[in-house]
Subunit: 232 residues, 2 copies
DNA sequence: CCTTCTTAGTTGCAAAATTCAACTAAGCAC
DNA sequence: GTGCTTAGTTGAATTTTGCAACTAAGAAGG
């Protein structure tokens, strides 16, 4: 082994975001052990080299062990590393962002978590507040030009539900016409039962969600699609 | 210490990009030691916990030790981690992107490097080809809506030089009018000697670069500014 | 000093994209 | 049927964009 290779603390953290009470909120738990014992913190853990082929696998395992669920969306956020962030010494945390509908999370053992507004965070362990701020910034940024917010909803959703999701992420309302044209959606053009075109941002299903008014067509997301950057 | 904490290999890599021969190229060197001895690889190294306060410090030190220079731009790209990327075992490489004008790099001991087109890479050690592809994608993406390409030029540059830089990054030409209006530049409006407005994307100097035709005003970049996403 | 050449910088207009208010559609309650 | 609510569309005013044609400034050469 290389003589200069130092002993470093390496862990994987997950910023699990969900829409709750009309706001973008992060899932936090209380640390059972020092350092920062009893402090609110992100879910995280050490890599199990035998078990985890990648850091993303570690992130998935940590969430599975805590809640029993798979996140609908998961990506690496970045690595928060340095001498100052952990009292035990130089450390690196490979941070991830995960998105889930809050309903799905609650059904799956999400009671272990406390939820806090990403814009009104309490005192947190390590640099976890900074990680959450970076995650919220990433999500808001990508939301302005992609279908990322779809992963905060159940698999099928109406266009109005999706619009509310975008509005809650940004904290401001959007005109209905603008929203729909930005997505390039013309419901009439879509042939529901048929195979989705690769170019389709959303896929029309043949299902409708009927309330006590005109029923709205249900959609599901095709893939993570990009459109023109906007301020909404 | 935590009982589950495994022994992992952690290193810092730098994708140092520069414009050379009209193309976006990456700086590579030949590995002196196994694994991948003699293979082309990115500059990189281990963290020195006593010396480096952050992973970015490690990246700067690695470049300084190789070439004696500070990169004009440096940001974290992401962490490439897993069981498969290093034959010695589970490893994590905190990867960075650095930008420099090729001239400055050459003057500063850049002879240690071989330069290769990011779109025509030779066989590389580890997952370094993947890191370079990710870095090029990041740079091209940010170039489409920010002043990132300014860091590939000397501190002062003409608008035409900057336009050529954008064109070389994307490999396609741009109309002069479109380029200037996208940057929001009206040279006449700028008061050179005075303090730059915070809103200014570029700062006009009172210097001109005269060839054998009308001299062009020299600019320097104010800060990393964003503008509307475009396809150029 | 006048013409020509080259590159810098500007202008204005045609074309394209965006926005939003007003419209139609579809269901339920009564 | 009427009235209410939400879904979905349309089209015209406005804004933005792209580009060709214009002016500006210096050098070279007669």
């Amino acid at each position: 082994m290389h003589p200069n290779r130092p002993a470093l603390i390496v862990s994987v953290d997950v910023v699990l975001l969900t829409l709750r009470q009309g706001k973008l909120q992060a899932a936090l738990h209380r640390r059972a052990r020092p350092p920062f014992q009893g402090c609110l913190a992100l879910p995280g853990g050490y890599v199990h080299p035998q078990e985890d082929a990648t850091a993303e696998d570690t992130a998935r395992r940590v969430l599975r062990e805590k809640t029993g669920v798979e996140p609908r969306y998961l990506e690496q956020l970045g690595t928060f590393a340095g001498a100052a962030r952990d009292p035990r010494g130089w450390s690196a945390a490979i941070s991830h962002v995960a998105l889930m509908p809050h309903e799905e999370l609650r059904q799956a053992g999400g009671e272990v978590f406390h939820f806090y507004d990403v814009d009104q965070l309490p005192e947190l362990a390590f640099d976890h507040a900074e990680q959450i701020r970076a995650a919220a910034e990433r999500v808001r940024n990508k939301a302005s030009y992609s279908t990322l917010p779809c992963w905060l909803l159940p698999e099928q959703f109406t266009l109005t539900q999706l619009q509310r999701t975008y509005e809650q992420i940004f904290g401001e309302t959007v005109s209905r016409g603008t929203f729909r044209s930005r997505l390039g959606i013309k419901v009439g053009d879509m042939s529901p039962g048929e195979a989705a075109d690769q170019a389709d941002i959303l896929i029309a299903t043949d299902q409708f969600q009927g309330g006590s008014q005109r029923p709205a067509r249900l959609f599901r997301v095709n893939r993570l699609s990009l459109f023109k950057r906007a301020s909404w």
